[in-house]
């Protein structure tokens, strides 16, 4: 996949960092440039989706019952009488000044909605990736250390399940089992209804806010609600992280320095966790970054299932209401976060790997 640890791609990576300040500077500016261009590309795509594909974007806003005057007013207000490239420039300008338009369904500016919904998504995805790392890395290492054992087979199947189980289905089954049958966890939503709105938002993340306010009851209630969706998300990153960790570790364990260490009588635990594991920490960062970005995407489905008030839920609600401004705004924000996380893990990889320095 995107992780070519040994540089096996036929061409050198773009922006490959050389030695010296000048090279470092050009890498940094190149980084900003590619980031900017990618973001511009994202804007071009959302612009295309919002303004070019719909046969008549005005009709989508005013509805087919509108009179000709209303239609003309809306058309000019939306700037649709301008040529397409002018529209695009003003669209880019609007986005960079934080103007994503109004949401038809909530009646508020889209940017305001998004900043209200984002913390919930962030909280869930972060907990998910923590679960994924805490379980995925040890599982991957163990699988590699005992290659061919039953544990290795189980981890292999879990890894493939991560590619073939629909996230929304797993969420539903989890709800049916752990909430309805076993009563181990809280149901959909972030809190039980009678706790709702009791905590004054500070960060917007309920786990942190309730602790800041010293509301321990509410904190535990929030934990019982977030644990299932976060675990479902965590399963998908666990599958990917364990799979990648395993293959990185197998690469290392076949190296000669590992044999040398074993011949010298270094305990197996030390060989695995120090000699073999230390070198793979850097490529693992890229893997974790990629799966974190993937979780933000996966949260769209999970949030719908768990009625979680995050960006994904906002996006799907907007989709069903044909609220294009909100759809494109949410797409932009998720896309931008996705791009930034990808680029950061790319940079971290180059900075931390001595061979690339």
């Amino acid at each position: 996949m995107a992780i070519d640890q040994q540089g096996a791609s036929p061409e050198p990576a773009p922006g490959y960092a050389g030695r010296g300040l000048v090279r470092g500077f050009s890498t940094a500016s190149g980084f900003v440039l590619t980031l900017f261009l990618t973001f511009l590309g994202l804007l071009a795509i959302t612009f295309f989706i919002g303004r070019v594909i719909p046969i008549d974007p005005v009709l989508a806003v005013v509805g087919d019952r509108a009179t000709q005057e209303q239609y003309d007013v809306a058309k000019i207000a939306m700037g649709l009488d301008q040529p397409l490239w002018m529209q695009f420039i003003s669209y880019v300008g609007n986005v960079f000044t934080g103007d994503l338009g109004m949401s038809v369904s909530t009646g508020r500016p889209v940017i305001e909605d998004l900043s209200r919904f984002f913390p919930a998504t962030f909280e869930m995805a972060t907990l998910g990736i923590l679960i994924g790392c805490a379980l995925g890395i040890p599982l991957g290492v163990t699988a590699a250390a005992r290659q061919g054992s039953w544990l290795d087979q189980v981890i292999r199947v879990v890894g493939l399940l991560g590619y073939s189980v629909p996230a929304f289905w797993l969420g539903l089954v989890g709800l049916a089992l752990f909430y309805a049958r076993l009563r181990w966890v809280g149901g959909p939503g972030r809190l039980d209804i009678f706790y709702d709105g009791l905590v004054e938002p500070v960060t917007g993340m309920i786990l942190i806010d309730s602790l800041i306010r010293g509301e321990i009851d509410i904190f535990w209630n929030a934990v019982s609600h977030i644990i299932l969706p976060a675990a479902v998300l965590g399963f998908f990153s666990l599958a990917y992280i364990a799979r990648m960790t395993r293959s990185f570790m197998l690469d290392q364990l076949s190296q000669e320095f590992v044999t040398t260490a074993r011949v010298k009588g270094v305990p197996e635990r030390v060989v695995i966790w120090r000699h073999a594991f230390n070198p793979i920490r850097v490529p693992l960062i890229t893997v974790i970054g990629l799966s974190y970005a993937g979780l933000l995407e996966g949260s769209v489905m999970i949030e719908t299932v768990f009625s979680w008030p995050g960006i994904g839920n906002y996006l799907t609600t907007a989709l069903l209401n044909a609220d294009m401004n909100a759809v494109l705004g949410a797409t932009l924000v998720i896309g931008a976060v996705f791009i930034v996380i990808n680029k950061i893990s790319d940079v971290l990889y180059r900075v931390l790997d001595p061979r690339a320095r």
Partner: protein, 300 residues
Amino acid sequence: MSNRDWLLADSPTSRLQANVGRAYRVFTALMRNPLSVLGGVIILVLLLTAAFAPWIAPYSAVGQDLGNRLMPPSAAHWMGTDELGRDIFSRVVWGSQITLTIVLLVALISAPLGLLIGAIAGYFGGWVDRFLMGFTDIFLSLPKLILALAFVAALGPGINNAIIAIAITSWPAYARIARAETLTIRNAEYIQAVQLAGGGPVRLIVQHILPLCTSSMIIRVTLDMAGVILTAAGLGFLGLGAQPPLPEWGAMISRGRTFILDQWWVATMPGFAIIIVSLGFCFLGDGLRDVLDPKSEGKN
């Protein structure tokens, strides 16, 4: 000379013999890996189910029977019935046709598109390459599902638009592969020979470069099919893909969501179908990769 000797001949005397021999070698190598055999069997069952759905399904996919609504799995209804009394097993069987259609159409649209773009970029190089690959990279760096959602939102819900949206978001990976392959063979001597003989770029790309990209493309497409099935089911689940009463698996799960707490089978059963078919493509793709592209063995 036995058939087997003819198939495995070191110096085939015809193009047909060479091609059939190669296919035979790939097939035997695949048969040695139990997981890829399992994957192949699953895909075969899917194909047969889709082809013979009218004979396999005991009931109609859309016929309602309100007296028998929400019945648990039993001998008469192997997977139970849904809220309109429709037999879930029959609907899953009929749904295999929809899944297969989506998978085939997405592959038929996105793989050739990606192949062509990648081969053109790799063959011409220079600014053509930079422009096409810049475009590809932007698509690659965006979340697929979100992009597909936005496209469907603009195009309008429906199975055809879902297919288009998924295809639009899945070609970039193929373009990358085709470009990498083209770069490695662009300067080969046989390419130069064709150029000397007066072959133009179209002839070179279509007849001499694209055929060499197909094996890595087949691997990648097979591996990606699981993702395509999941995305299509996701769109169906959100109500943006196949519309009722079509028995699309994702849409069926979405209908069963309301009853998940008491009538678990309505949402659960179609999910198993999705998982099994996706796993089948994963197993087969893994096996194909090991056979056709031994370099990457152990990676991933």
